[in-house]
Amino acid sequence: MAKTYHKPTFIERTRANYFSTWLDTTLTLGFGALVLWVLLGLFDWAFLNAVWSEAEREQCGHGSGGACWAVIDARWRLILFGLYPFEEQWRSAIACIAMVITVALSCVPWFWSARRLPVLWLAGFAIFYVLMRGGLFGLTPVSEQNWGGLSLTLFIFASVTLIGMPMAIVFALLRRSHLPMIAGTMGVIIDMIRSLPLLSIMFTFAIVLPFVLPGWAVGDKLYRVIVGYALFFACYQAEIIRGGMQALPAGQEEAAQALGMGYWHRIGYIVLPQAFRNALPPTINQLVITFKETSLVVIIGFFEVLASGNAAYGTAEWNFAHIEVYCFVALIYFTFVFALSRYGAYLERRLAVAAR
């Protein structure tokens, strides 16, 4: 049986990929049918039979079988901005956009240098803080207690990552230190903190810490919680980074030593860049988790997106529409997290090509 070579056409490839055996065909058809069914049902509910405007509230929920987006129409500002003063919400919106742009820009490889990235983040945070907090340039001051909604979520996520990442690096370095006391103690600390529920850590930092810290070190509740969350994040991320370092051949550090490079030069230029490369997929996992778990700050009374969603249907007129609000909030989370995970997939492919 001699074979001759020719380039497969699109149809041939599709057939080979999706319909080559009866199992494949069943799988393809079954999955396709399932997806179609779900999508159609969703479409029916979310679009065809839905009520869109606040004015038509009366039509909601009376046998139409559709979604009542009227609640979003009426309450979207509450969901997106929480308790931020109504007339000042434009500030929150701009701050939000500034934060998104900062995060997006730091995904661009051009910014990945020891000088550009800190400048970018410093600028991003400065803009965010001045806009949100006010008190400068004639902006009315708004206390942290009243920050809320999406901008709070983004702020917490960004600060936790920003504080937590260097902490994670330090933790990872300490844990693999050649000094047994330091490595051992750090190991116990990391294992302990990551064993605890995030919720209890936030609770401790928000409620218990004021009793434990000397007065000058207490600070605002929001920042305490961020520090606590960052600590928690750092413990998980430290293990991930340590994993990435372990995968690095010993020869890399030795080569740097042989060139006369000092400890921090070796870590900064040789070990860390490669460790992060190795640890990319779990790091993305961790960031996804971190973003979603910002919603736990609701337990200590912050109006991030989920909490302001709760408040949005928590009145007499919208009380029935909590499914719609949940869907809207989920969509917000999904948008960010999905972008993050696709970006991770892109990075993975990019680095795989560069690696060899």
Binding site: P249, G251, Q252, E254, A255, A256, Q257, A258, L259, G260, M261, G262, H265, Y269, I270, P273, Q274, R277, A354, A355, R356
Partner: protein, 248 residues
């Protein structure tokens, strides 16, 4: 550091891996500008010996003096010695996340505090010398084995070390590439650099070495100039080894 002191003086050095005695009472003196080839069977401690010289391994007894500086616990001494010794690893150990040029300029910029322009100029000069200037902007993963090997040599040279340590610099190459790499090393040797090279390329030893050292089971069994070493080996172990290398 006066020119009077020998480049390397190792006396009664002992090294253990756990309870395993890898190097036993090593005594070795290398004069400035001398070219040494070390050979010996696998596992005899050749790599470990040259790794001790720039303190990639700690040793347990005796002393090592490099360029007049005692290699002890003192951190400054270790740094000083590493700055002056270059090393080319058996497995290259290039930094895969940097371009060839960055690989070569990193240490001069960080350690020698050279400006980027200066470092790049020196790097290009050495890359030209090993005949791969056109690869400067590629990444190590994009080069063939022989090219990577030459980058490793150029990288070590960019630090302008007084001593170069080579660990089997041709072990992973195919026959056509071996000769290219050896050519570069012969060039260096002719410039008068102090050089210690672990290799089994006996042609190279004959041609370049001032002295050949044969190690076995962690001891220096025999050392002699190449002609003497190859033609009238004294020790039975050396004779057996040479017999097998030259025989097949």
């Amino acid at each position: 550091m006066t020119t009077q002191t020998p480049a390397i003086r190792i006396s009664d050095m002992d090294k253990y891996f756990g309870t395993f005695h890898v190097l036993r009472k090593i005594n070795l003196e290398v004069a400035r500008g001398e070219r040494i080839v070390i050979c010996g069977p696998s596992g005899s401690g050749k790599s470990t010996l040259i790794r001790c010289i720039n303190r990639l391994e700690e040793y347990e007894g005796g002393s090592i003096n490099v360029l007049g500086t005692e290699l002890d616990d003192n951190i400054d001494n270790i740094d000083a010695i590493r700055r002056e010794t270059g090393m080319v690893f058996q497995h290259f150990n290039l930094f895969p996340h940097m371009t060839i040029l960055d690989n070569c300029t990193l240490a001069p910029m960080l350690v020698r505090k050279q400006s980027r322009a200066e470092a790049e100029e020196v790097a290009m000069q050495y890359l030209t010398r090993v005949k791969i200037p056109e690869q400067a902007d590629k990444y190590p993963g994009q080069l063939s084995g022989g090219q990577q090997q030459r980058v490793a040599i150029a990288r070590a040279l960019c630090m302008k070390p007084e001593i170069m340590l080579f660990d089997e610099p041709t072990s992973a190459l195919d026959p056509e590439m071996i000769s290219e790499v050896l050519d570069v090393m012969v060039g260096l040797a002719n410039d008068g650099m102090t050089m210690i090279c672990v290799t089994h390329e006996m042609g190279f030893a004959r041609q370049v070495a001032d002295r050949v050292i044969f190690m076995s089971d962690g001891e220096i069994v025999e050392q002699a100039p190449p002609t003497e070493f190859f033609e009238t080996p004294k020790h039975a172990r050396t004779q057996a080894f040479l017999g097998q290398i030259l025989g097949h």
